[in-house]
């Protein structure tokens, strides 16, 4: 099976970290290596973080297997199951296993993980004294539960409490011994720990706090434990869960530099460049990790270098913790104690069992500790990783994300309490149980996996938070959502900002240039990155356009409908029209037998059911009648909605229709990161609904109130007030400047509402209001980019540009 032309890669350690690296590598370079895996356990790769549910009888071992024997065969991987590697000869580049197997490598990956740290107490070698680390330990515990009654767990940390809970579920009488006076002292503050202890006691768990173990009693098998104060407790089973110890003896014996773990660089390389190490056995920038999220990030980087792509960097991970004890919700992340320079936000309701604490430094979350109600844990954690300034909603942040106006879902964010048939994803009709089943049966770990397999949150994305919560809730424990750095798509490791900065700073001129210079993994990119990149390129160079990287709507300048026909919406500036306009539209509709017409929410007329080949003809007639494209199909400026204003309305304060027309004349045709809507209301009654638009003007007697960042879509958001202006000229200038700032700063497919929530209104005020010179420059850049944008695409196509696109080739079988 082995192929001489290929290099040999050996993985020592068949755990989650190592195998994840292999999986990532197979995705990048499936043919590069002959791969051999050594594992000292007699199983395939299983999900170690799910051992607690196995012990608690909530899952079976089969359910937590990640790669069974077949998988290794299918992927042509030689699997040395149950063989411990005892020696590495770095000079001859080979590994030697216990049974004498010798195999040489070109590249070696060490992922030996960690073992339970066993306290060196007298009697620690007695029968019935175990750790809690692998399937063998779980088997020993299940076995003990059949024959014995009393279990003692040393260690009141995450692992100890999960072991204790599992043993209780197995029917044992369990006492947890903890050396400190507060449970989970690495994750919880005292208040939360006290609430946790009370709930566990209600479940029947017993505690001996502030007890230092001294000696394990019994002859042959353990019978009890004696403490330093002389007291004793009976025990038929003693589980030590005081911590883990990185397993690096093998690496050390071969002369690799080790401190608290195998020391690796940001590329996951050890001091021997042919040897990589990953997972719990490594020490990276002084840190040793014992959670799964960092391993996955490390795996990506190691795979990137093994595939010789050479640009992955691991820069450390901010971790968070949850406790996998059914019925108890607990979340902690970062620094949850704080110091003199930090502030504390606290919500405590002992009666309902809710405790939330956030630690802030300069209005940025640096730590969180939640007990009882943890559904917002992922939200807080994301903001913590992003360094989001929370000053705008600091007064309500403890009430959770739902409180911020998630009108789409509201209280439903309590995923744990939701019924199995509750619909999570409204776009694709995916309910809670489908997602939970997919996560458990298909062993999904990430949001992307869930999207691929269930389609939940894959369309409009408004339920992303819910799906992430479900993932966290279902996986429990060490789940930590996607890496802190969200790449633009699967074709690159770079974020939106990084791609954009690359285009700007290196003056990249086209798609090919971007993909080559920025090391794309795919030759042509994909539908996601091509559209985003196309926008970023044209934002820098308004003349740029690559039709094949545009969504069909923007390529065909119509809105594709479910049957493959298109809808056509001519622009009506400010919603104003004349009898002549209406006649012209009616003529077109009759001539092309338009099956259905509708007045849109944006105050214009939509003609449905037009065949692609007819589009240029429709446009020709509309152009001749004086219409231009309404861009109702694009990530572009759409419409400016107006009310009648002071020319007719007895309440009107200003000429809102006139101003609306001017604003639309200024901005029409502009390509944007997402759709972009304007409105002008003639008085504070706000008939044009200007306060749910991207840029809204509310006229008042003394001038014009400018509102930005509103959204009437999936998640309704009312605008933020930006400034009050005196004249129409100022309104036009501020509108152009704000629009341009959004165009240059937001991610592709990010509407103004989430953009403002992400970057903060202060940043926008600083750029558009406070800095007059900058505002003028933004205005200038907007005007320059509008020049090519306001050449009507419909007229161009009616005149024959790209006519092939609209003509099909007809053949009749002879």
């Amino acid at each position: 099976m082995s192929d001489i032309a290929k290099q040999n890669l050996i993985l020592v350690g068949n755990g989650m970290a190592g195998m994840r690296t292999i999986e990532e590598l197979l995705k990048l370079e499936p043919e590069k290596y002959n791969i051999t895996v050594f594992g000292d356990e007699p199983y395939g790769n299983y999900n170690r973080i799910m051992l607690s549910p196995v012990l608690a009888n909530e899952k079976t071992l089969e359910e937590v297997m990640l790669n069974d024997d077949n998988w290794y065969q299918e992927n042509n991987i030689r699997f040395e199951k149950g063989k411990r590697v005892t020696d590495i000869d770095r000079v001859a580049k080979k590994v030697i296993a216990e049974d004498g197997t010798e195999l040489s490598y070109d590249k070696l990956l060490i992922a030996t993980g960690s073992t339970s740290f066993m306290l060196p107490l007298p009697g620690a070698d007695k029968e019935g004294v175990i750790g809690f680390r692998d399937v063998k330990d779980v088997d020993a515990m299940v076995d003990a539960a059949l024959n014995y009654k009393k279990a003692v767990v040393i260690g009141g940390g995450l692992l100890g409490l999960e072991a204790a809970n599992g043993l209780m579920k197995q029917g044992m009488d369990v006492t947890v011994v903890h050396i400190g006076d507060s449970l989970m002292d690495r994750q919880l503050d005292k208040d939360a720990a006290t609430m946790l202890k009370t709930s566990l006691e209600e479940k029947g768990m017993k505690f001996l706090m502030s007890h230092a173990s001294e000696e394990i009693l019994g002859d042959g098998r353990v019978t009890g434990l004696r403490f330093s104060d002389g007291s004793e407790v009976d025990a038929d089973l003693l589980v030590m869960a005081v911590g883990i110890k990185p397993n690096f003896e093998l690496a050390k014996s071969t002369g690799l530099h080790c401190e608290r773990g195998i020391v690796v660089s940001d590329t996951m390389q050890t001091f021997d460049p042919n040897i990589y190490a990953i997972g719990e056995c490594v020490q990276h920038r002084g840190q040793v990790y014992g959670l799964v999220a960092p391993l996955f990030e490390q795996a990506k980087v190691a795979a990137n270098h093994l595939a010789e792509l050479g640009y992955g960097r691991y820069e450390g991970t901010v971790t968070s913790t949850m406790l996998k004890v059914t019925g108890i919700s607990l979340f902690s992340a970062g620094d949850f104690i704080g110091d003199d320079d930090t502030e504390e936000l606290l919500f405590r309701d002992v009666a309902s069992g809710t405790y939330k604490k956030l630690i802030l430094r300069d209005n940025i979350i640096i730590g969180a500790c939640l007990y009882g109600d943890t559904m917002d844990g992922t939200w807080y954690f994301q903001m913590m990783k992003d360094g989001t300034n929370i000053s705008d909603f600091r007064d309500s942040i403890l009430f959770g994300q739902a409180h911020l106006g998630d009108a789409g879902h509201g209280d439903e964010t309590r995923v744990a309490a939701m019924a199995d048939n509750a619909e999570i994803c409204g776009c694709n009709g995916v309910c809670k149980s489908e997602i939970v089943n997919a996560i458990t049966e298909k062993k999904l770990f990430t949001l992307d996996d869930v999207r691929a397999h269930t389609k939940a949150s894959a369309s409009c994305g408004s339920c992303t938070g819910l799906v992430e919560s479900l993932l966290a809730h279902t996986l429990g424990g060490d789940y930590s959502q996607a890496p802190s750095k969200k790449s633009l798509c699967g074709c690159t490791e770079l974020t939106h900002e990084e791609v954009r900065a690359g285009i700007r700073e290196m003056h990249l001129k086209d798609h090919e240039d971007v993909r080559k210079t920025l090391n794309w993994k795919t030759e042509d990119g994909c539908a996601v990155c091509r559209q985003a990149t196309n926008y970023y390129l044209l934002c820098e160079n308004p003349e740029y356009n690559d039709p094949e990287s545009r969504f069909i709507n923007e390529r065909a300048h119509g809105n594709i409908q479910k049957d493959g026909t298109y809808s056509v919406v001519p622009r009506m500036f400010g919603g104003m029209c004349t009898p002549k306009d209406l006649h012209a539209i009616a003529d077109v509709a009759e001539k092309f037998k338009v099956p259905e017409m509708k007045v849109t929410g944006g105050q214009r007329i939509d003609m449905f059911g037009i065949k692609k080949e007819d589009l240029p003809l429709v446009w020709k007639d509309l152009s001749e009648a004086g219409f231009v494209s309404g861009h109702a199909y694009g990530k572009a400026m759409r419409t400016c909605k107006t009310c009648v204003g002071d020319s007719w309305c007895r309440m009107g304060t200003q000429d809102s229709t006139g101003l609306g027309v001017k604003l639309e004349e200024l901005t029409w045709g502009s390509w944007m990161p997402h759709k972009y809507k304007l409105a002008v209301s003639g008085c504070p009654r706000n008939c044009a609904e200007a306060t749910i638009k991207d840029f809204g003007v509310v006229c008042v007697d003394s001038g014009y109130e400018i509102h930005v960042g509103g959204n009437g879509g999936i998640k309704v958001r009312v605008t933020d007030f930006l400034i009050k202006l005196d004249t129409e000229e100022e309104v036009l200038e501020y509108c152009a400047a704000f629009s341009q700032y959004y165009r240059e700063d937001a991610h592709y497919l990010e509407r103004t509402a989430p953009w403002i929530e992400r970057v903060g209104l202060d940043k926008i005020k600083a750029a558009v209001l406070d800095d007059e010179a900058n505002r003028k420059e933004l205005y200038e850049r907007f005007i320059i980019s509008q020049k090519p944008a306001q050449i009507d695409p419909w007229k161009k196509h009616a005149d024959g540009v790209d006519e092939n696109q609209f003509k099909s080739i007809k053949i009749t079988a002879a």
């Binding site: 894959a458 030759e523 042509d524 539908a527 094949e548 594709i560 009749t812 079988a813």
Partner: protein, 105 residues
């Protein structure tokens, strides 16, 4: 009998773009890749019959414009976690002209 049908000049298909071929029985999307490789596939996504010809092409696959299913232009099969398959047809390029193996034969 020669059942190759001449369809169109290669240069009349944009790179990473497509043209639609209408026959009596079926619409076929003919795509042109980076290296002037040509693919022909039934213009109907196996998911909800979206016109694949209008999708974005990358490598040897296309993303359907309606619901973003990725379809292999080589096998006609849905990629990723989706399941479904549509027809593909043989093509060849000679002297800058694209030929399609007659779908009715």
């Amino acid at each position: 009998m020669n059942n190759w049908l001449e369809i169109v000049a290669l240069e009349e298909i944009p790179v990473l773009g497509s043209r639609v071929v209408e026959t009596d029985t079926v619409n076929i999307a003919v795509f042109r890749g980076k290296e002037d490789t040509v693919f022909a596939i039934k213009d109907q996504c196996p998911h909800k019959q979206g016109p694949l010809s209008q999708g974005i092409m990358h490598g040897d696959s296309v993303t359907c414009p309606l619901h973003n299913w990725k379809i292999s232009l080589v096998s006609g099969e849905a990629l990723g976690a989706d399941e479904g398959c549509t027809n593909v047809y043989e093509t060849k390029v000679e002297d800058g002209k694209v030929f399609l193996k007659s779908p009715s034969s």
